[in-house]
């Protein structure tokens, strides 16, 4: 009796079933997603380490400070190689783009590039330069939509990490070997996986998001606090530039934390940190081997990272929709980009100490 009722209830609700035509494209998308996730996982622990390094700077927005001889915190530095002598092999990646996006987990593809940091690894594998590119940097050859000037913040939203890397390559003439994209959640997870991060707060600031007050001095920040801190720009000296400085400082602090704890040389710890980041941190191209990267650049230390800002000035562009805040590069910026492309950053930095940001401890 009850079984008849059950069969009848099932039969009445068969019409609820979606059609195979709805399912097929979703399966295809899910398979692609899983394949790329697998590729990322295969690239492995190195990728995690890179991601950890990259995550901090990318969260804060673009940091374009050219500082000589220092590496950003993290595995994305460019020391090649399995050989014990420093110096990456000729095939080692030299320029990585760390992109921090505000993409939310429930809205994939919605992220804008909030933080854009070009990480240039010196050929000797011992230094890295963090160059924050302001997200409002004008891109003459693109547009952010009808009547809006092209800015670095946009390509990620319209074309993903590859488009962002492309835009940076066209702007700077520097070939980008890989992109590490980090969502907010990825930064939080990586910091927490490292047990927090020690940072020097250089200016008292009150978060407009959480009303948390960050006081001047050394501070131990959790993942959520670190994210909150590097997202602030209102009331900072230099506004968005100040935020870029904080992003780089966070990156350096992450690298310091990771080396202090031996994370970069301990595959188990490294894997744990990478696992924590999950898919909130992705590495492209998928063939980029994070483990190899970490090995090549194992001599990188936080105190050899150089944080740089890009020569330029804030501007307002009149648009059909009113004024739009932009960042105009100065002529001298192209000298910096050439130095990056030619692996000759150290002399440039020596001539331009005003572009170097203090990264901590």
């Amino acid at each position: 009796m009850i079984d008849d009722e059950l069969r009848a209830a099932f039969a009445r609700h068969e019409s609820l079933a979606p059609t195979a035509r709805e399912l097929a494209p979703r399966v295809a998308r899910a398979v692609r997603r899983r394949r790329s996730r697998r590729a990322v996982l295969r690239t492995g622990t190195a990728a995690l380490a890179v991601a950890a390094v990259a995550v901090l700077p990318s969260l804060g927005g673009l940091s374009t400070q050219p500082s000589p001889g220092h590496r950003t915190a993290g595995p994305p530095s460019s020391s090649p190689g399995p050989s014990s002598s420093p110096g990456p092999g000729s095939s080692a990646p030299r320029n990585l783009l760390v992109v921090g996006s505000d993409e939310r987990r429930d809205a994939p593809g919605s992220g804008r590039a909030d933080a854009i940091i070009l990480v240039h690894l010196a050929p000797d594998g011992r230094r890295a330069y963090l160059v924050s590119l302001p997200r409002d940097t004008v891109l003459a050859d693109t547009s952010c939509g009808p009547g809006r000037p092209g800015r670095l913040i946009c390509p990620l939203l319209h074309g993903g990490p590859a488009a962002e890397a492309d835009a940076v390559s066209r702007l700077t003439g520097v070939h980008v070997d890989g992109v590490v994209s980090v969502r907010f959640a990825g930064l939080v997870a990586v910091v927490d996986a490292l047990g927090g991060v020690d940072l020097t707060i250089d200016q008292q600031i009150r978060s407009i998001d959480t009303h948390r007050v960050f006081r001047v001095g050394r501070a131990h920040l959790s993942g959520a606090e670190a994210l909150d801190y590097v997202r602030q720009r209102h009331g900072l000296d230099g506004g968005d530039l100040g935020r870029e400085r904080h992003e780089q400082q966070l990156l350096a602090a992450l690298l310091r934390r990771a080396t202090d704890q031996g994370v970069l040389t301990n595959p188990v710890r490294l894997a744990a940190v990478l696992h924590a980041a999950g898919n909130a941190v992705t590495v492209r191209p998928a063939g980029l081997d994070p483990v190899g990267l970490v090995r090549d650049y194992r001599h990188l230390r936080a105190d050899t990272l150089v944080g740089l800002t890009v020569p330029g000035h804030p501007a307002f562009s009149a648009t059909a929709r009113g004024n739009s805040a932009t960042f105009q590069l100065d002529q001298d910026a192209h000298a910096l980009f050439r130095a990056l492309a030619d692996d000759a950053v150290a002399p440039y930095v020596a001539d331009h100490p005003e572009l170097v940001w203090p990264l901590g401890p």
Binding site: I2, E5, L6, A9, F10, L16, A17, P18, T19, L23
Partner: protein, 170 residues
Amino acid sequence: MTFEEFLAARAPALLRYAVMLTGDRELALDVTQEAMARAALRWRRISRTDRPELYVKRMVTNEYLAWRRGSWFRRVVLRGAPDDVPDQPVTVPDHAEASVWRDEVWALLAELPRQQRAAVVLRFYESLTDQEIADVLGCKVGTVRGYISRALATLRRVTGDQVDRSRSAS
């Protein structure tokens, strides 16, 4: 058989099965999509098994059993008619009265523990044997019988009360 052929041939039946499990169209799509994507990546091995369909049905079932509670609870469980039916005692003719408490059966399925619901769907919708159900659920035959008899007892008790109530009200 390639995965594409399998998908084309078996997707409608698997989607209907997922609807019976989840009671929700979107959730059924999600669950089937996840299981099929996993199957696609392992297809070479799965296609060599005796009954690929049973294997994939097991994957769909596992997705349903493992679906994260958070997202599960945020969704509105489709209850069929009961929510749309006026609260007052049923005074309509017998046929309508019967259909009201039949849809009560559908709503009650959502309140069963997931294993029990899966067992009931496999038995009364998919018409599998106890042994096949045990294979799909990855448990013993005796456990399957326990799930089904407990589920039926719950359904009988509640629908019985419902019938009594509507009868005394009319």
